[in-house]
Subunit: 350 residues, 2 copies
């Protein structure tokens, strides 16, 4: 197992200011690099405390790139429907160059009706836009001259500048797929995978990963398949403290998520089967059940090591586990303590 650091700011501005959040994020990323973490990653969300402190992952990762030298930088993820692929390919390539080849480019479809409303993009187009975004970016990165005639975009011939450092192109991660079919498609295309175990059942995720690995093995893509799996982690030598903190900040996450997914009440989309149940799912959230199902890492170092062993048993020991240690408005010192304890007594002991 490898380990990375995930930033998903679910923060009410009244609880922690944005300058404070960014400075803390950069400090944690620098610490993560020195502690041997493989990557840092961050999200793209708009207009609500649910991720809204990071509407542009590249802007934050570029600042982190300037303060680090080894750790990889992952978009987790760029949302295809809200970005122009030419612009996206170009700025991701800038980040690959600024970081001397440390970019892992994660792309997602997005899933919040309110965000699609802000950008006036029909949710029904999200799958097609995602596919075109990934295809445009890999073409612009790999080929010296591209003439593009797609469903949404037409341009060229053009030679993208800057050319990316990583050849033929930076690794592409498909983010947050929730079906075995999507995972198989990602594997067949030679892409890597980002999964979020909190939104799928254990059985469903196992099927997804099996479909991905089989399709990837059957493809002729030479790179080693990489799977990033995301967990929030609450760690303390004092078990009660870890669990109390976990329950409080998971509740903060769920409360803000309830606002962000409210647009699903009364929305149905054939492209997002079952998402209309999001509102009820969030309303029915139960921390003890989530902990028992290992949807979150929480407890003493020994307990978290056991949780990771279980995860490796279910999903494979070739995963990169991306942990969030700075949920919500947690004080910085507590996040850094979690990070160091994890590096010292969890990562180091597995």
């Amino acid at each position: 197992m490898d380990f990375g650091l995930n930033f998903f700011p679910v923060i009410d501005p009244a609880r922690k200011s944005a300058p404070e959040y960014y400075q803390e994020t950069i400090k944690l990323a620098v610490a993560a690099e020195s502690l041997g973490f493989e990557h840092v990653q961050t999200v793209e969300h708009y207009g609500s405390p649910y991720g809204g402190y990071c509407p542009d992952p590249v802007t934050l990762l570029s600042a982190i790139a300037a303060r680090t030298s080894r750790i990889r930088l992952t978009t987790g993820a760029v949302i295809a429907a809200f970005n122009h692929p030419l612009k996206t390919a170009a700025k991701l390539s800038m980040l690959d160059n600024l970081s001397q080849g440390r970019l892992d480019a994660g792309f997602g479809r997005g899933f919040l009706p309110d965000e699609f409303g802000l950008f006036q993009v029909p949710m029904a187009e999200s799958r097609a836009r995602f596919a075109e975004m990934v295809d445009v970016c890999t073409a612009l990165w790999s080929e010296d001259s591209v003439t593009w005639t797609g469903e949404f975009y037409r341009f060229g011939p053009v030679s993208l500048l800057p050319r990316p450092v990583q050849r033929p192109h930076p690794p592409v991660f498909v983010a947050s797929a929730t079906s075995a079919e999507s995972c198989a498609a990602a594997g067949k295309a030679g892409h890597h995978l980002q999964v979020v175990p909190s939104v799928t059942s254990r059985e469903q995720l196992r099927e997804m990963l099996t479909a991905y690995r089989e399709a990837r093995a059957a493809s002729d893509h030479p790179s080693r398949p990489r799977i990033q799996i995301k967990y929030t982690c609450y760690l303390s030598e004092n078990r009660a403290e870890a669990l109390e903190t976990a329950e409080r900040f998971e509740r903060n996450y769920v409360d803000h998520m309830a606002g962000a997914v409210a647009g699903w009440a009364g929305t149905r989309s054939g492209q997002y089967p079952g998402y209309e149940k999001f509102v009820d799912k969030v309303r029915g959230y139960d921390f003890d059940a989530a902990l028992a199902a290992t949807k979150v890492l929480a407890g003493t170092p020994a307990e978290v090591r056991d949780q990771l062993a279980a995860i490796a048993g279910w999903y494979g020991d070739d995963l990169t586990v991306s942990i969030q240690v700075s949920p919500g408005h947690m004080p910085y010192e507590q996040s850094e303590r979690t990070l160091r304890l994890f590096a010292d007594q969890v990562m180091g002991e597995i």
Copy 2:
């Protein structure tokens, strides 16, 4: 007079690699901060050596923000037609937060037919898109809740996150206006100004600045008007060396500009009167004439001081002169030498 540092990469990738360019740019920005320069700024261009190393100014400025603490960060400029205003407002606000309030937000219309072609935006819309971009950004930055119904965009109600640090909003610069009317409009709106003397006659620029200052004074905007004026600077104790270098890199600039403006051959646009003559203008470029007309700063420190005194006489001594010291594929050491010589023997002596 204040002074800033301008980055406009006109670089053939075969002559200098992108990672090298970015590392050098960051080093120069750090040096500029320590030498007392007021700002750094950079452009947005696509798909050709004419600026193509910087398709996203925010990505580069974010890296610079992470390595500096005082110097201001200027987009010079974000091109309205190629960016979604919601995304732009959000990521510029991230930069304002990452830098603790050091953003100066420059916006431009763009002027290259090939770039409009890449983004499938009619050039005839550029003025309206520029106006809507500036209005959307200032609204999202200033107001807690925005419902927008414009010509190109409709969204809301939404509260932008993160909120910018600078209140009511980061300073807005109108970039590269070429008419007195545009400058008067910028002044009336309380905006700041970026001008490029190489593309206008001295008389035209004087009229533009007069129109701007009069409109600004008649407006009730409390902030001090700021005017950034851009020059490439070639400086050496050895006059012949400075001029030889200047001629070589100005020629490099003009040669690459010829490729970038080729789309104007046979193009006419009522929104860009006279731009169809760009191709001939570039073809007829004469270095000695440009030097004699002080379109470029070049020579010994004493000569450049005289050139700046003339500029102050023509255009006012309240300008911020933004110098480019790293044109084309110039070796880094030479750029840093120019910067230090300028700080020591030009800036310090005025």
